[in-house]
């Protein structure tokens, strides 16, 4: 598939926003009453809202008719995309209300936060199921996709929480760093598992099933046209195998070991700059990870478009 940058930005930004909000809620739940932390939690809510808002904005650039986007909420019975379109603004509303409750010092932060966390977890499932539910994109059609989106979102959210705490609430840095480490490690296991699974994946569709002729030697001579088409641009990443490989190794380094090293450096040196760099690196890595996620999926329609002519 051709990676769409609007979708890469959407999924990584909201994933981090959701993870950050979950980190904030757990802080509130475990350290109550968090009176002196209210300002930090408010700042965190603003950051989560900013990330999800940017993600939502990015998603509009994916649409041919963004002015009709409201229609996308109508088919929640069958479409995971429609469900995401509903849950994302609902989550943003919960985050905004949570921030407002902290700002006005209302006693409903726990209840609103719990709703926000449920929506955040639901949103991970909705986003990932958009991809995992397409059964013939075999690289995506696995529960590992849901697990990856959730764990990588939580990891980047906790890394961001660590960076924010480094600047605003130093007493929370260690706890967030521990969470970031746990989720980054779990994310590595799950993402590595999906990479191993995909490396051994045999395509179900073949040239034989594509045109229905049972012969071992079938070669396309012509795809029916000399120029370009949606079919020749939308479903292939257009880069060499070498580039694909280097993107894979880049994200494996950027998402998993490097942020942890920077975080350890930041913790031992007490440097909030290093903690911020840890998030920046991990986010950069997640952009590459998401790019690779799209690029790696092999669409069966490509069987019909192999030879120009």
């Amino acid at each position: 598939m051709k990676p769409a940058f609007s979708v890469i930005l959407l999924t990584t930004l909201i994933g981090a926003g959701q993870g950050l909000f979950i980190a904030l809620y757990l802080t509130e739940l475990l350290l109550r009453p968090p009176a002196h932390l209210s300002a930090f939690l408010l700042a965190g809510d603003v950051a989560a809202l900013g990330l999800t808002g940017l993600g939502l904005l990015a998603s509009f650039f994916h649409l041919g008719h963004p002015e009709r986007a409201w229609r996308a909420a109508s088919q929640w019975r069958t479409s995971w995309l429609s469900r995401e379109v509903i849950v994302l603004p609902a989550f943003m509303l919960a985050v905004a209300l949570h921030g407002l409750a902290h700002l006005l010092d209302l006693p409903v932060t726990g209840a609103v936060g719990l709703i926000g966390v449920i929506l955040a977890l639901t949103l991970y499932i909705c986003t990932a199921m958009i991809y995992a539910s397409i059964r013939f994109l075999q690289e995506w059609a696995t529960p590992l996709t849901v697990l990856n989106y959730t764990l990588l979102g939580l990891a980047s959210g906790y890394t961001l929480a660590t960076a924010l705490a480094g600047a605003l609430a130093p007493e929370l840095v260690a706890a967030y760093a521990l969470g970031a480490t746990v989720f980054t490690a779990a994310g590595f296991v799950s993402r590595a598992a999906s990479l191993l699974r995909n490396a051994r994946l045999a395509p179900k569709s073949t040239m034989q099933s594509a045109i229905g002729i049972k012969h071992p030697h079938i070669a396309q001579q012509s795809q029916g046209f000399m120029g370009g088409a949606f079919n020749t641009s939308e479903f292939s990443h257009g880069v060499s195998a070498g580039v694909l490989r280097s993107v894979k190794w880049s994200f494996l380094l950027l998402v998993f070991p490097l942020p942890l090293l920077f975080m350890i450096g930041g913790l031992t040196a007490g440097s909030s700059t290093l903690l911020a760099a840890a998030f920046a690196l991990q986010y950069l890595g997640l952009l590459a990870e998401r790019w690779f996620f799209f690029a790696q999926a092999r669409h069966p329609q490509n069987l019909y478009y192999q030879v120009t002519g």
Binding site: R71, W80, I134, S205, Q221
Partner: protein, 242 residues
């Protein structure tokens, strides 16, 4: 329930692309707007088509066959592109089973094209909506044209009569009989999409000649042993051109 569909005879298709051009012509002239042609006379032209004819070589030289393979939307009975649509723009008609896109509802998110294993949907870069074969829904019900012409444009254009059109659920229809009697099959049946369009396979074309076909065993000449008179040597009337 009616399920309109095309049945394409691969044994007959000669790969002339008449269905491609007639499809483009009909659908670019319709009320729904033209099919985009971007940079048509430039170095890298691209455009929207609902129907393509592709060519495959089957076998190894010298035992090869050239298979011309027309492909358009297959109007699946379990269309994977329909439930994924977030707006309901993509739908399957209850009355005749045609899978259509409501261009006024489509937001152009392209998700349905990801969810079609056949690559049957093409995003139109000018109208910014997803487009696909409509089985000429604006033609097959048009009572202002003669009844014989109320067929998809590609079917009428095909000079080899390789494309049949009709209700595959009606066992007496031409298409259902073609599927049943000539081993019609579906594409990529492994995904359970149950495409309505079927393809008729290539058939072995050979003539079996028995000795009796060349020489009659009951030839009366052999019965009485009499041979005909010597052939005429003098030009007769038939030997002169008139």
């Amino acid at each position: 329930m009616t399920q309109l569909a095309l049945v394409i005879d691969l044994n007959v298709c000669v790969g002339c692309h008449a269905c491609v051009t007639s499809c483009k012509q009909w659908n670019t002239s319709g009320a729904a707007g033209g099919l985009a042609d971007l940079n048509p006379y430039g170095a890298n032209p691209s455009g929207t088509f609902f129907n393509r004819v592709q060519t495959f070589e089957v076998g190894e030289f010298p035992n090869t066959q050239t298979v011309h393979f027309p492909k358009s939307c297959l109007h699946c009975e379990e269309p994977p592109c329909v439930p994924v649509c977030p707006t309901g723009a993509s739908y399957k008609r209850e009355t005749d089973g045609i899978v259509l896109v409501d261009y006024d509802k489509c937001i152009g998110c392209k998700y349905c094209s990801w969810a079609c294993p056949y690559g049957a949907r093409e995003f139109d870069e000018q109208r910014k909506v997803m487009t696909k074969c409509t089985l000429c829904v604006d033609r097959i019900y048009d009572s202002s044209i003669p009844e014989a012409q109320r067929k998809p444009s590609c079917v009428i254009a095909c000079p080899a009569h390789a494309r049949l059109f009709g209700d595959i659920h009606d066992p007496d229809s031409e298409v259902a009989r073609a599927i049943n009697e000539r081993a019609g099959y579906q594409l990529m049946s492994e995904w359970g999409t149950s495409p309505a369009n079927h393809y008729l396979p290539r058939r072995k074309m050979e003539i079996r000649i028995h000795p009796e076909d060349l020489e009659r065993v009951d030839n009366p000449l052999k019965v009485d042993g009499q041979q005909p008179q010597a052939a005429h040597r003098i030009p007769a009337r038939e030997d002169h051109s008139t």
